[in-house]
Amino acid sequence: MTRRVVITGAGTVNPLAADVPGTLAAMAAGRVAIGPLEMPDLDRLSIRIGAAVQGWDGSVHLGRQELALMDRAVQFAVDSARQAVAQAGLEGPQGERAGVILGTGAGGQTTQDDSYRAFYGEGKSRVHPFTVPRLMPNAAAAHLAMRHGLKGPAFTVSSACASANHAMGLAFQMVRSGAADVMLTGAADATLSPGGIKAWEGLRVLSQDGCRPFCATRKGLVLGEGAAVFVFEDRARALARGARVLAEVAGFGMTSDASDIVLPDPDGAARAMRAALADAVLSPGAVDYINAHGTGTAANDRSEARAIGMVFGEGAPPVSSTKAMHGHLLGASGAVELLACLMALQEGVIAPTMGWRQADPDIALDVIPNEARRARVDAALSNAFAFGGMNACLALIRA
């Protein structure tokens, strides 16, 4: 018999809050965490807004030695995992049947930026001795494995803005296939450094005045940072140990556009959504909510709306993009957005698309503008469509 996979723990550090209850409350209230950035060389940036994690103090849960080894993104991941593991009621080393798959778009971007500012910019002749273990993209997964004794499969996937969904999809498949009984999974990114923003500026897709997905007045995406980590567990094992089930992961679909390095192709997105639904044995009509990739760029939003139309026809369920609130967390986006799906499934509250002002004739969707909505949600779909034409969609059902 095929194993079923449930979520028994969730944790997060993101611009809305440094825990899950705070994040869900902010999403339900439509709070926007985008604001002016503070960082060195701000005067040399043309984009000066973002969604930063405010007041982050890694030393609350981490010692000096640990902090010395961890990039900002890794700290977010470690704290998210601490929360998720505590909620799941897992204690001590989890052993050989436990693993971790995390996503990241950029790895230790802050470490890279700081190091090379010191070396090239400030003329220093050395960088911190732990620069390599801090910036390596698999650092977060390694720290989670060490801290929670995860001795089974452990690695990191990187597929730009779909990294989180690819990571969680693979973790789901591993638990379902029996390769592991429990997996920590999610993603982390922290790219709000001058170098990170400067790189994005060049593509001319960043907005200077907020993120308004699916709105005719949208001006592009707004960068954010953060992490979310979940405990994916064999349902029978979770029930046997009396764990509280937050939701069931029912299906995963991934496809490649194989067409353009930055422009999305609706066909690839539609095929990924269809694949997730087929994997979950759900008909399109059974889906009550779609958490969109919804970056707020003209290219994504039009393509995604078309793809949803291809899969769902006239009867598309409500669609919202929470990026208007927490910004685009790049590789970590799908992980924080899965929290919006959990809220919809568990609490019957669909997070809104904030910032929406005016209908775009190219987008015939109910985007839940500006105010959360109560609705019974039995099945939800979470979309992630990355640069490189890599698409990853997760289907979840109510526990």
Binding site: R204, K219, G220, T297, A299
Partner: protein, 95 residues
């Protein structure tokens, strides 16, 4: 991008055309003001490179957002329009 270095004594239009021609892998003489960037096969990524070359070459900042291409009166659709836009930006830069 080779062949896009800007010399102070070059005519501004010729400098802009050199940038566009290099991006389009064409000879500058083959370009005319009426040609669209689309005619030249310059797509959205190509335009990002063109803007980079213009900003580096002329020490200006081109206020272009791919999500709102026509915003702020900036027209970059044709070779002539790009030349005019750069001329305006260079003029605005000079006191």
């Amino acid at each position: 991008m080779d062949g896009t270095r800007v010399n102070a004594d070059d005519d501004l239009d010729q400098q802009v055309i050199a940038i566009l021609a290099a991006q389009a892998l064409r000879a500058p003489a083959d370009l005319s003001r009426a040609m669209t960037l689309q005619d030249l096969g310059i797509d959205s990524l190509g335009l990002a490179e063109v803007i980079f070359a213009i900003e580096e070459g002329f020490d200006v900042s081109v206020p272009f957002n791919a999500n709102a291409p026509g915003e702020g009166g900036l027209d970059l659709r044709t070779v002539g329009a790009v030349c005019d836009a750069v001329e305006a930006l260079v003029r605005a830069r000079q006191p």
